[in-house]
Amino acid sequence: TGNEPQAAPQAAASSPAPAATGGNDVPGEKVVIGFSAPAADHGWIAAIAKNAEATAKRFGDVKFKPVQPTNDINQQISAVESLIAAKVNALVILPNDGQQLNQIARRASDAGIPVVNLDRVFPDKLSYRTWIGGDNYGMGVAAGHYIGTALKEKNVADPVIVEIQGIATLPLTQDRSKGFADALKTYGFRVTARQDAQFTVETGTSVASNLLQAHKKIDALWNHDDDQGVGVLAAINEAGRNEFVMVGGAGSANAMREIQKPDSVLKATVTYSPSMASSAVKLARLIAQGKGMSDLVENQVPQSITLASETITRENVERYLPLGFES
Amino acid sequence: MSELLVMKGIVKGFPGVRALSGVDFSLRAGEVHCLLGQNGAGKSTLIKILAGAHRPDEGTITLGGEQVRMTGPTDAIRLGIATIYQELDLVDGLSVAENVFLGHEHATFGFARRRAANRATAALLARLGHPEIPPAIEVGRLAPAGKQVVSMARALSHDARVIVMDEPSAALAHDEVQGLFRVIRELTAQGVAVVYISHRLEEIREIGDRVTVLKDGRTAAAGLPARDTPTGRIVSLMTGRDVEYVFPPRREAAFGAEVLRVEDLSVPGVFSGVSFSVRAGEIVGLAGLVGSGRTEIAEAVYGARGAGGRVFVDGRPVGRGGVTRAVRLGMGLAPEERKAQALLLEESLARNITLGSLPRYSRLGWLDRRRERADAAAQINAVDIRPPDPDRPVKTLSGGNQQKAVLARWLINGRRLLLLDEPTRGVDVGARAELYAVIRGLTDAGIGVLLISSEVPEVLGLADRVLVIREGAVVHEADARDLDEHRVLDLVMAAQDSTPHKEEPGD
């Protein structure tokens, strides 16, 4: 996979704007696309919802039918049930938890409604037509490589490496951590301390300020999520610490602007772009209209699309800035 | 003498009842005007209207020649009407001084001047004859009698023209009532008018100037001279019939076997070495001052309070099972604070009455509601609760009727021994006679009764045997017929200490 730090940005995958993909955007038959995602109480998910809606609006042949976003699995099941009952032509689902929503997605598929599974994956391949999402493991790997290389360059032995996760119970968090640990292992490093911070700015601040107390000297810090990163940075600035390299995650515009500052501890961020929602809606439209992707030879949309996680540093941040989401 | 206050044609209805249907009442400066009436006659309602706590549906109030309209308690207070309510209305979490001056605090720019308040409170308490109550202590730590004193201090703190007292003596013992009377006399001497409500007719004779009798929400007689009106006339005005204010005849038959035996019962710091027994069909009275430890003895017997010593019911030890076991063995307690300790105020009368005998109506936990209702209705009639509506929430009953409901709970069959702590507190004369008959009737059915009362005549008239308690010890035991009021009072007070307080070594 394209996780190399220097991988070039892929405009088509990162931009909510319609890509120049020839015949795919030609108006086709009218389709209704249902959309369900967790509550937008987080910048990244908010961007997901916005991107999906914006993309759908751009097509005259798409009727977009979003349902109440919620963090309660029970309610999301009901929400999807109502979309099935409304007989939409395709579904785009970002489940709170792929395993827990699997049954209902399966029911949709069985009812003949193609499901585009966004980001968090359903365990059962019969439950969805196409999966599109980021590479969580790859994200961890990218962060691990960046930190590993940086520390090797400085010749640090036995470094203190701190990891601040998002919500610890999510599989995606566990994938990210695993990738991070695996990549560090190739440099002979390991994570010294790991805490989770619920994806919010405020929990970011409190966890980080406690962690900074626990470790008087840190060599590197990976924060999984740029939303909570704002809080983490606030805690770091408050403590007046700058002896380490910090790497972010997701690729928010805030983080990118921070990377541009020469004196910031935030040196890089690894992407996990919410633009995937735009792509998901487009895919759902193509599937519902029975079209393939015009840049591919096949007549059908592929079964799975994994976006590459890219590493944004001061060197390439200019190119990414327009794609960053405002958190 | 001119009338200071005139209430005319006062009507007040509550959903489902007409509490007052046209009451006239007038009050002169410097007099003690007693308000009499059966339980539920409307006395408390009338004075709550006077206090601004209720608004009348009809009628006028004239104070000092001017018609007044009160929209809340604040208005009444501003007009110089202070009230001691029947139900204690103190805030447990605040100090004595803070309670006394609640709503009219000593304060500068919102900052309470505690020292000034404490000083003023100490002065008021001293005036009431209770200098020993510290103004800074939390009211929740006082016993009922102490709280009653604080309520009085509060009424005095207002510099009122009219002071209304709704059964202030119900929670007080004999000697303390005298203290109260002294204060009332001081007040009237200064021209303050006092409205005095009590069910104890002898108090009326002693302190009252005039009497107004309410019956069923109407004025049955107004402005009778308190000292000269014959008791029989007052009672028949109240009840509409002639009531013999006498105790039922004592039981002739020999007492049965011992139902209760108490051996060497003690609660450290409260009482110690208490032993006695109650036989089937016998009424044993506990006489003593407020604070002598009678309530604690009853509670310890009942298992509601950890104590040393042994208690047997019908020869079976109560042991460590606590109240539940005591009730299962056939005991029942009518506690002295009915609201806090006995009643489910929001629940219906029927449910309150059957609360102590739920197992009787259940088969495998399933309630036989028909039988429950029948029993409740029977008890309501037996003690004559008014109105006799089993579904009425107890909260809406008058004080005396609530007390009857507490008694009724334990009249349902199956009891072996009843512990009655001040069973007639707040009960009117007519009902009182009925209650005496009911209690005597119980013993005829072979039940033993332990009776606690602060009214010595009641103990002497009703009990078969009397135990005199002083400072946590049984100082005398005798057949009731061998004692008279004087002798009991002597025994009770032998050691001067007559405050409502008692030192208790930490908790």
Binding site: Q68, A168, Q174 | -
Partner: protein
């Protein structure tokens, strides 16, 4: 002031007809609010709202918290509060879906969930009645500890119901008389709760214990034991709710039931039960819950965005309560 005292506490002795009328009148505000919501549904999304499948969706959605709400009603009438319900449900679902448990088949899974729930409830109850802890704190501790334990047991993973145990999942996806069996489970719990509360000594004692614990004690009720049992009952309901959530989501997870405690308490209180204990009805709680569920359903159907939803939800709560203000005039 407290006008409610005048309202008869449900005329326990009048005939069924009258009982019904009074009961309905008591919840008039809630019924009105519900009717209003239904009207909004019929107007805004006529083609989907009144369909059977939508009604089923609403009921299935209500089932989980509904069962919990029944237990919560008992606890609150008994003068307590249980913050641990969501966490205990999660723990029960995780415990029942461990591979070890699953190897014994669906019956054992159900029994396991119910036992874990009841056990946790009894433990909270023990701390409260014999350890004399404040219910808020004891159940908060249970909340925290149960979530932690659930996370530890599941290693923070979502545990799938194994294909061999799909009988459990059929509780949600199967149909009996056109309805998923979990709806019947829900109904059965509500009816059982109503019967216990209104027709047994246990229910009667619950009112007494909550209304005036001192009086209950002096009337011979073992208040401590009863209090413990109330929390046990609430735990039992959480266990049953765990079965429902396993059926619906096909998983056990430590994240299940997040914030259910707030929803359940809110439903109970909107239903007219006093937080101070001693009063309340199962019917009111269920109506309160249905209002919340219906609000959610309407939002789903209308596709409102979250922020507007939240604002609207706040307003609707206020309106629903003001509608029934007359029947509920008490503080806290």
């Amino acid at each position: 002031m407290t006008n409610h005292s005048i309202r008869r506490p449900g005329r326990p002795y009048t005939g069924a007809g009258l009982l019904g009328a009074v009961g309905r009148a008591r919840h008039l505000g809630l019924v009105l609010a519900l009717a209003l919501l239904a009207l909004v549904g019929l107007v805004t999304v006529p083609e989907t709202f009144a369909t059977t499948s939508n009604v089923v969706t609403v009921l299935a959605l209500a089932a989980t918290i509904g069962v919990i709400t029944v237990g919560m009603t008992f606890v609150i009438i008994g003068g307590g509060i249980d913050l641990s319900v969501g966490a205990v449900m999660a723990l029960a679902s995780v415990w029942a879906t461990t591979l070890a448990t699953q190897s014994y088949g669906p019956m054992v899974m159900v029994i396991c969930a119910v036992l874990v729930g009841t056990g946790a409830g009894l433990l909270s109850g023990f701390l409260i009645s014999y350890g004399r802890m404040v219910p808020f704190i004891a159940t908060l501790a249970m909340l925290v500890a149960a979530r932690g334990l659930a996370e530890r047991m599941s290693d923070r993973r979502t545990q799938l119901v194994q294909p061999g145990n799909s009988a459990l999942v059929d509780l949600s996806s199967g149909r009996v008389l056109g309805l998923p069996p979990i709806v019947f489970v829900f109904a059965a719990v509500v009816v059982a709760g109503w019967v216990v509360l209104n027709r047994t000594t246990f229910g009667r004692r619950t009112y007494a214990v909550g209304g005036n614990p001192e009086a209950a004690k002096l009337a011979g009720i073992d208040v401590r034991r009863h209090t413990m049992l109330l929390y046990g009952l609430s735990g039992l309901c959480c266990g049953i709710a765990a079965v429902i959530i396993m059926a619906r989501t096909t998983t056990g997870s430590s994240t299940h039931g997040d914030l259910y405690e707030l929803d359940a308490i809110a439903a109970v209180i909107i239903g007219g039960t006093l937080l101070t204990g001693g009063r309340g009805t199962i019917g009111g709680s269920i109506l309160g819950l249905l209002i919340f569920t219906l609000i959610t359903n309407l939002f789903i159907l209308n596709g409102l965005n979250t922020s507007d939803q939240l604002i609207a939800k706040g307003l609707i709560i206020v309106i629903a309560v003001l509608l029934q203000r007359r029947s509920l005039r008490s503080r806290t």
